[in-house]
């Protein structure tokens, strides 16, 4: 993570806190980041230098209209407006991790084929805390490619309990 990314993340988090709804803004930023991760066309549109910045910012407003708070929309538009659309995913990820770190937590990115309810997320967080020894904040990413089960990524550690991993193991044993 570069210093520029960290400074932008700190700025976004400070602005969200200044507005008084940091957790909501960070949550909305995380959701936008998931969409950005899976949508190559959107990622290229926001980082295309041949597209006027005004048009790119307008695209962000149109995309998030009614889907996110005004603060969230404005912060994303601000990052795109300064020409950092290409690093928007990294900035959002850094913002989420900084927000968790402010509570002495680590972010656990959990990939699942289905959405997890609050109870499952709490029990999963508790289980991860017992397993890793660190307090974690669970961020669920819907990923149908895991087929079933969960894949948890905390920093550089990956705990893969997915059906996809078992199928891959089966493929390797057959090859």
């Amino acid at each position: 993570m570069s210093d520029t990314t960290t400074r932008y993340a700190e700025s976004l988090l400070a602005a969200a806190r200044a507005e008084g709804n940091a957790d909501q803004v960070v949550g909305e930023l995380f959701e936008f980041g998931r969409v950005l991760e899976t949508n190559d066309q959107l990622r290229e549109a926001l980082s295309d230098p041949s597209t006027p910045i005004v048009n790119r910012m307008q695209a962000v407003d149109d995309l998030l209209a009614g889907q996110a708070s005004r603060v969230t929309s404005s912060l994303i538009a601000m990052v795109v407006g300064v020409g950092r659309g290409g690093q928007l995913g990294e900035i959002i990820r850094a913002t989420v991790e900084l927000n968790a770190a402010s509570r002495d937590q680590r972010v656990a990115y959990v990939r699942s084929a289905i959405d997890l309810d609050a109870d499952q997320q709490q029990r999963l967080a508790a289980a991860l805390r017992e397993s890793t020894g660190d307090d974690v904040e669970v961020r669920v990413i819907l990923d149908p490619s895991v087929l079933g089960g969960l894949v948890t990524e905390i920093g550089d550690d990956v705990i893969d309990g997915s059906v996809r991993r078992r199928l891959n193991q089966m493929r390797e044993s057959l090859s």
């Binding site: 699942s112 499952q120 999963l124 289980a127 079933g148 969960l150 309990g161 059906v163 089966m170 493929r171």
Partner: protein, 245 residues
């Protein structure tokens, strides 16, 4: 050359002297014709008749005439006896002998030494020529021996070169055969390796294809069979597994 000229001059002088002092061989002797003529003339003068009249009287049977005629014929036969063709006249023998002695003395004095010297010089020259010829023969034989030795050396050298060339050719042939065999073995080994690699790759491809088909089928089966409850059970199992660690 000088001696030869002097000898020739002496011989010419001797010849001139013989011609100058010698008289004709028959100058002091009468010929057959003159002998006959003198006999006939003497008969006609003594008898007062001619030879023809005598022959006619003898033919008529006169015995005295026949005897006279027989006597005359004997004298004719005596005239017919020619002088000795070999024996020269006496004066010629004298003058010729004298000239011969003078010539012999001159030649003994002058020509013979010159001839002797010439002969000795010629003998010496011939001897030296023979010696030179012998030396040349010896030299030629030495040269021939040298040439024969050189020829023998050349033949030996040629044989050695041919032998070396043959050995080199054999070595080259052996090397080429060995290289060709090595290349053939390498090609065989490479071909076998490629065939083995292709076989392994084909098996791997088949296995991969089979596994992909099997995994694809498994994914479709799993994807179709994993409903919401099954997904929740997998999540719970994951949480339980984390807790049990």
């Amino acid at each position: 050359m000088r001696m030869r000229t002097k000898a020739m001059m002496l011989a010419a002088a001797a010849s001139v002297s013989v011609v100058a002092f010698a008289a004709p061989a028959s100058a002091s002797e009468e010929t057959v014709g003159s002998c006959l003529a003198e006999t006939i003339l003497e008969f006609e003068t003594d008898s007062g008749i001619t030879l023809h009249e005598l022959e006619e009287a003898a033919a008529e049977g006169d015995e005295e005439a026949k005897k006279e005629l027989e006597t005359l014929e004997e004298e004719f036969e005596a005239c017919n006896e020619s002088p000795n063709p070999i024996l020269p006249a006496t004066n010629e023998i004298i003058w010729g002998g004298l000239s011969f002695l003078i010539l012999l003395g001159m030649m003994w004095k002058f020509a013979f030494p010159a001839v002797k010297n010439g002969m000795e010089a010629r003998t010496e020259r011939i001897r030296s020529d023979l010696a030179a010829a012998d030396q040349a023969k010896v030299d030629a034989q030495a040269v021939q021996t040298q040439y024969e030795a050189q020829l023998a050396d050349a033949k030996t050298e040629a044989a050695r070169i041919v032998d070396e060339a043959r050995q080199s050719a054999d070595q080259v042939r052996t090397d080429l055969i060995a290289r060709a065999e090595a290349e053939a073995a390498e090609l065989r080994e490479r071909a076998n390796g490629e065939i083995e690699a292709m076989r392994v790759q084909a098996i791997a491809d088949v296995q991969s294809e089979v596994s992909e088909i099997a995994i694809g089928a498994a994914e479709r089966v799993v994807g179709g069979s994993l409903d919401r409850d099954a997904q929740s059970q997998l999540v719970e199992a994951y949480i339980q597994e984390l807790t049990s660690k």
